[in-house]
Every structure is written in structure tokens, then in C-alpha cells.
Amino acid sequence: MSGWLDGLLVVSLLVTAVAVLLSRDLFRAVVMFMAFGLLMALAWVRLQAQDIALAEVAIGAGLTGVLLLDAVSHFRRARPQHRSRGTE
């Protein structure tokens, strides 16, 4: 069963990494990156590196997410035509 867990983890890490790179919407890329941070932490857990997992959760999923979200909203206010709400 652990093999399944590791395989799924590897696949989802690759998927999120590619998604972060390919996303045209910056906000989506940031949220994807936060998801990537959490999955990375789980990967560290599976590699028996609990201390790195703790740091990854705090920095990758927590603080970097906050900083990037802040940066994106500044950027979006500076260039309003890049707003994701493209329904009109």
C-alpha cells in the first residue's frame, strides 16, 4: 500500500509542478504552488525527513503562499487588464 502512496505522491508532485509552470493565471499558479508545497512536505515525510517536512509546511505551504498572494494582488491592481475574471 505504501508503494501506491509514494507513486501517487510522485505523480501529483509532477502534475502540480507542471501546472504551476503552465498556468497563465498568476493567482492559479500561486494556489497551485501552495498545493505543491504541501505535497512536497508529504514527500519529505515519506522520506523519513520530519524536520524538513515541518519547515516545508511552514515555509512552502504557509509563508511563501502569503507573500506570493500579496505580490499577485499588487500586480493585478497595477495592471487591471490581467484580472482573471474574464466573463464580460
Partner: protein
């Protein structure tokens, strides 16, 4: 018991991966934040289950930190969006 816990972990990870789709699709930014909330709660459960099945008590601390810090990103998102909405309602930004 360990087998059951590992199975539970696989199921939770699978649900988490399905949640990725909502981050990708989510038409509104709020939908994407919601999916990241799903990531936080499922991640906490996953870490607690792994702490038992791998017998690593330190993972409970990781789960605690995740539960505490996941809100921060939501708060950051909300404060920024609310500022933009408030600026909108004051009529500062009519450049759409």
C-alpha cells in the same frame, strides 16, 4: 491496522489530488482558495494518520503547524481582495 491506516492515507491523498482539479478549474479566485482549504484539512488528517502508521510522533507537530498556518494564506487573500473591493466601491478604479 497499519495496512488499514496506509489505505486511509492513500484514499486521502487521492481525494487531495482530485481537489487539484478544482484549483485548476475554479472560475473565481475564491473557489481556488476553497480548494486550498480542502488541502489543509485533508493534509492534517493525512499527517495524523501517517504519524500513527509510520510511528513518527513529530508528524503531529507538522499537522499542528499546517492547521495553524493554512488560515494565514486565506487571511492574506481576503484582506487583499477586500481592499480592492473597497477601492472599487469608492470609485477609485474605473479603468475596466
Amino acid at each position: 491496522m497499519t495496512l488499514l491506516m496506509d489505505t486511509v492515507a492513500v484514499v486521502l491523498l487521492l481525494l487531495l489530488v482530485v481537489g487539484l482539479l478544482r484549483i485548476w478549474l475554479g472560475p473565481e479566485p475564491a473557489d481556488r482558495m476553497l480548494a486550498s482549504q480542502l488541502f489543509a484539512s485533508t493534509g492534517v488528517a493525512l499527517l495524523l494518520v501517517l504519524a500513527e502508521s509510520q510511528a513518527q510522533p513529530a508528524l503531529r507537530d507538522v499537522a499542528l503547524v499546517l492547521a495553524l498556518l493554512a488560515v494565514l494564506s486565506t487571511v492574506a487573500f481576503v484582506t487583499r481582495v477586500m481592499q480592492v473591493a473597497r477601492a472599487d466601491s469608492r470609485g477609485e478604479r474605473r479603468d475596466v
